[in-house]
Symmetry: C2
Subunit: 387 residues, 2 copies
Amino acid sequence: MQEIAIIGIGQTKIRESWDKSIREIAGEAVLAAMLDAGISTADGLFIGNMMSAMTSHQENLGTLIADWIGLQGKEAFKIEAACGSGAAALRMAIFAVSSGEMDIAIASGVEKMSEVPGSEITAALATAADADYEAVHGLSFVALNALIMKRYLHHYKWKHEDFAPFSVNAHINALSNPYARLHNKISVEQYQKARMVSDPINLLDASPTGDGAAAVIVTSKSKLSNLDISRKPIIEIIGSASATDYLAVHDRINPIWLGAAEKSAKKAYAQAGVSPNDIDFFELHDAFSIMAALSLEACGFAERGEAPRIALNEDIALTGRIPIATMGGLKARGHPVGATGIYQIVESVQQLRGNAGETQVENAKIGMSQNIGGSGATIITHILKAD
Amino acid sequence: MQEIAIIGIGQTKIRESWDKSIREIAGEAVLAAMLDAGISTADGLFIGNMMSAMTSHQENLGTLIADWIGLQGKEAFKIEAACGSGAAALRMAIFAVSSGEMDIAIASGVEKMSEVPGSEITAALATAADADYEAVHGLSFVALNALIMKRYLHHYKWKHEDFAPFSVNAHINALSNPYARLHNKISVEQYQKARMVSDPINLLDASPTGDGAAAVIVTSKSKLSNLDISRKPIIEIIGSASATDYLAVHDRINPIWLGAAEKSAKKAYAQAGVSPNDIDFFELHDAFSIMAALSLEACGFAERGEAPRIALNEDIALTGRIPIATMGGLKARGHPVGATGIYQIVESVQQLRGNAGETQVENAKIGMSQNIGGSGATIITHILKAD
């Protein structure tokens, strides 16, 4: 892999954006990233998005947004990998820059979910699962994750309350993040008493959706000297890999093991020449608390069945062995699905630049982010390093 | 650009596939391409598709199809650029191979449109246009193209019947293509009397939709000797470029000029070191007859306003100066939207291998294909050469 640098980041506050269309939300993030990088144009735009057709009656989304932000004429595409669409778009931007076909590429993720009824969002999210063998039975996306969590609780003999630290930690870390959707501290008791969504997943196991966009600008490190970019610290992408699994959960060899997370993380570790011990923080895909646990195990931060223990031991806190969801994670920053993978990258860059404010991880030099599409089917891992 | 070779092609017959799901249709094309190339695996899969969420309640489509064809674990993504999704997927595969991140990549396009009512397809196709400024007024996709055609007829003083040769030629060329949707010769009189769809576009100006998939396997030419591939003639991609325009037709500087076609064609010509005179055939995006005319002009095969004349002069026939739609084009082979761009590439490879049967273009050495997303908004051009 060529040496790729991130030279600009941008993001919008995750909220219900009744006042803005999908192009305006994406534009806000992309233009912020261009301003951050000090550039006024780029060679191409890769938009990660899952459900614009279903929620905004809009496809051709790459071109729509390129047009909106003044990049008419440039290459533009939409990339879809369910909730992993954001990091998938970054992967394409890396391909494009790494191949020499583009000097500067923009990867952005955007989702607008508030404008349609909740029942339509439930149906839209279910398209991440296998339509013919899972969703057809009435299984919603949260129900699939609930089956996984139930199996995990049964197999490893944990109690539901043992998962509280994942949500409590995420909510604490979001408090000082101005872009986060939720700014409320929660207690273990509140977690335990939260309204049930799909047993055993309750409202405080689940991430809130929302409207939002995030963007990053990438270029080849070898091109940096040719660019008139502002002198922000350069963050290097030292690992980028993705892997897939059986789409339907019932087809997987072990439904409580994220094989694609393991595979993509191992590839990324090998590219970066690092091991889990070298990772200073981990922006994982805690769409549901069970996913945080499974990600930690698959990526080598906890033994099988031991993720709740490291959470209970506060290893996941900002001062712990492997801080996660450092700016709120999906759980409290929010999860505008196609945008999430880029929010993770943007937050990793904030940490590595030392700009993470009150939740800065001390001496953060190497960070990992991992974006999941479907309930473990498509998993994309990036490792970033402060140059 | 690295030297990229196409080592395998596959396609399904375009029809109403009531008996097959979207994964089965795509699988048939991809497995045919793998068989053609003599390979049993690949590093990644790029699926061009526009409307699977709307017609099959299915996203995460890349991973779904990778799973179905036995590529579990490998990288997989869906790429969307409206009706240009197919060629957009090939463009990603080229990035991936060119960057060295993949040795062998599969680009496939698939669409399944028959299973939902026509009104839903009309709504789904309209997502290729600007939802907030075009579709919101009730403009369907064909209506947008009708406005363009009406303006063209007015501006250049052509009559509707002067467009007949585009459709007549496409229907003749599809007769011997076993994968084509339509196998009926049409007369100029039939063309003139066809039922009106959206004035001045009648049924014989418009391409039929359908269910279908096509696939190509690409690798770097430098990797060919390492591969145990069957000894088919190697077809090289000597030009690959894409460009965008203002999405909404009313925003364009000239609504009857395809700026993005001109831009992407010029880039591709420059990469390939050729001019329009060197192109032996042109698989253009004749979704509507007006689009065939505009493509010929924007790519330098006809002067502005002169495309109907070169069609009337039979320059577009198999033995003419620039044969188009050599195996039926969108008009008669059919237009399963997200798959079309790959059908064009597959047919170009058939021509360059000398395997195009009754519609073989004599001594075809260099072929061009051009895929359009939206009514001219996203245009991707590829130039292929027999090695």
